[in-house]
């Protein structure tokens, strides 16, 4: 890795105010880094210098006038390519949207823009966010900055790799079954999945609407907190966004963790967990105990059913959401003699193999004769999984688990067996189904130098508690444990 200085949000602000650098120069510095590293990492799919420099110039003008700066003034940010950005190509890493330019900004993007952020570009991901390794991108895989022969995780692999390699100060990712937390874990950066409804999904191109969430990846917990503070809150354009007041997360995060009860579910530490990962996470929990947290043993008996539940519900929702790609309104069109032939050929050519597989599975699960056996049953098991969490949060303030069963695996290692790939999400999908917030925070490295992530779940809308624990852990040296 280069010896370039690591920028933080506070650091950017201080440097801009002291006039050590202008926002335009800073954006230029990041583009120079991207030019050096991106050919190898493939973290960015599209760069947006026109918009970035226009945003930077606005910040520089505000500084020249002596205006008070908005919270993310001049901060170079990357945006996952499933989130709509006005005037900037948004592909979902799919051929079917190769030339699509959204006419509007997602609400989260618009809020970042108003907060003074500078949009460097759009990051690579698994096609339509479907995958756990970034190998399902139609534009080639992202490589892990810690080891270019390994995957960065997925689906927000480009966002995680960009932050880890210093090609953005922070990034937006999306998480449906683990897609922020697992790449955060594999690349060694904090990644937060907020509560369902905490951040508006308006402008997030839908994969599974009852599970999709937008959240930050950043170089530190404080920076993830700063981004969440900007993007959180009710939005009238998303009827599932929650009318719940947004607390001052910076204040919440600075509270002492002494006395917090941390639940450790034994169901997350069984067969399939890499011994080195297990040892690191147990050391992480011991560190939290030394900070004054109380270890509470837990059982979450439906954990083992989460993957099966998730792959029914997520694919069912995807089969419906992706019906809109038919060659009529946007994206690719492959001509056909009839309307149906045009639909079929457009979708055959436009979608990659994993997306087709999931559309097929979801369509099957929703089709006549199978709906009750698969979809409705999975909806009931989702209730049982949510109850596991509700019961746990009667006894504890947070739940601590590994983020993923292994560190980053090699490119190509799991591509032949979809089930093995799905099982990499085994510890993250539970919280996705329950709709609770969760963070992956760096928790040391393996002997081979690969990052390990520790996951912290909180109760609905308790991002403050999750971030508070993550920050205390980080400040106590958790990332080098």
């Amino acid at each position: 890795m280069s010896a370039a200085p690591t920028w933080t949000i506070d650091g950017v602000r201080a440097a801009l105010q002291a006039k050590k650098v202008s926002a335009r120069e800073l954006a230029g510095e990041f583009y120079a880094r991207i030019e050096r590293r991106n050919p190898e990492l493939n973290a960015y799919l599209t760069l947006s210098p026109d918009r970035a420099y226009a945003q930077a110039d606005r910040v520089d003008a505000a500084i020249a006038r002596g205006d008070e700066l908005p919270p993310l003034a001049g901060v170079p940010i990357a945006i996952k390519d499933v989130i709509s950005t006005q005037g900037i190509r948004t592909t979902c890493a799919s051929k079917i949207l190769e030339t699509y330019v959204p006419p509007y900004d997602a609400t989260a993007v618009e809020r970042l823009d108003r907060a003074g952020a500078v949009f460097l570009g759009k990051t690579n991901c698994d096609e339509f966010a479907m995958g756990g390794s970034n190998e399902n991108s139609a534009y080639g895989p992202v490589r892990n900055p810690s080891d270019p022969d390994r995957v960065p995780g997925g689906s927000s692999g480009g966002s995680a790799a960009a932050v880890a390699a210093g090609l953005a100060v922070a990034a937006l990712g999306t998480d449906t079954g683990g897609s922020i937390r697992q790449p955060g874990s594999f690349c060694g950066v904090p990644g937060l999945m907020p509560t369902y409804g905490r951040v508006s999904r308006y402008g997030l191109i839908a994969f599974a609407s009852s599970l999709d969430k937008i959240g930050p990846l950043a170089g530190s917990v404080a920076d993830a907190t700063a981004v969440l503070s900007v993007i959180a809150g009710h939005d009238q354009n998303d009827s599932t966004s929650a009318p719940v007041p947004v607390p001052n997360y910076a204040v919440e995060t600075d509270k002492p963790v002494q006395g917090l009860r941390i639940g450790v579910p034994e169901d997350y530490f069984g067969a399939g967990l890499d011994p080195e990962v297990k040892q690191k996470v147990l050391s992480g929990i011991a560190l939290l105990e030394r900070l004054g947290c109380r270890w509470v043993p837990l059982r979450m008996p439906h954990t083992d059913y989460a993957i099966a539940t998730y792959y029914i519900l997520a694919t069912a929702e995807a089969s419906s959401n992706l019906a809109r790609y038919d060659g009529v309104r946007y994206g690719l069109r492959v001509p056909g003699a009839t309307l149906t032939e045009m639909y079929r050929q457009t979708r055959e050519r436009g979608f990659g193999p994993e997306v087709k597989c999931r559309i097929m599975l979801g369509t099957y699960a929703l089709s006549a004769g199978y709906y009750e056996a698969y979809y409705l049953r999975a909806q009931s098991v989702r209730t049982l999984i949510a109850r596991d969490f509700a019961d746990a949060f009667q006894k504890v303030d947070a739940i601590i688990t590994p983020t993923a069963p292994t560190p980053a695996f090699r490119l190509g290692e799991k591509t032949s067996d979809p089930l093995q790939m799905y099982l990499a999400d085994i510890y993250t999908v539970t919280g996705s189904l329950a709709g609770v917030p969760g963070i992956s925070v760096p928790c040391g490295k393996t002997k081979g130098g690969l990052p390990v992530g520790m996951q912290i779940f909180g109760s609905h809308f308790k991002e403050g508690c999750v971030l508070q624990l993550a920050q205390a852990f980080e400040q106590a040296g958790g990332s080098t444990i």
């Binding site: 055959e348 599975l361 989702r382 799905y422």
Partner: protein, 105 residues
């Protein structure tokens, strides 16, 4: 096998997905493997368990949800977006999207 070749073709037709002969076999294998795994959901007794139709419901978001700010007034506002939206279409003649002929007569 739980999934027949005919099942694959039926589902592909429902989903408007064209599949090559090779893909038909690949998806048959993959779907079969995944559905066999998903059968583990049958181990659970779900009698009297409500299907989860909504992720966050009132009890999780108490006080503030009471006045339902998500239910806004139904007010007519300007929506002059047809230009940018049609310009993204593969084939459009304002104010329409053009598609192959649907009705023959």
């Amino acid at each position: 096998m739980k999934i027949s070749r005919e099942d694959v073709l039926r589902v592909a037709e429902l989903a408007h997905l064209g599949l090559s002969a090779e893909e038909i076999e690949t998806y048959r294998d993959k779907l079969d493997g995944i559905l066999s795994y998903i059968d583990k959901l049958k181990e659970l007794d779900i009698t009297n368990v409500e299907p989860m139709a909504q992720v966050i419901y009132a009890p999780a978001a108490p006080a503030a949800a009471a006045n339902h700010p998500e239910l806004r007034e139904d007010v007519v506002g300007p929506c002059d977006v047809s230009g940018p939206i049609l310009s993204a279409a593969p084939d459009a003649r304002k104010p329409f999207f053009r598609v192959p002929k649907v009705i023959d007569r």
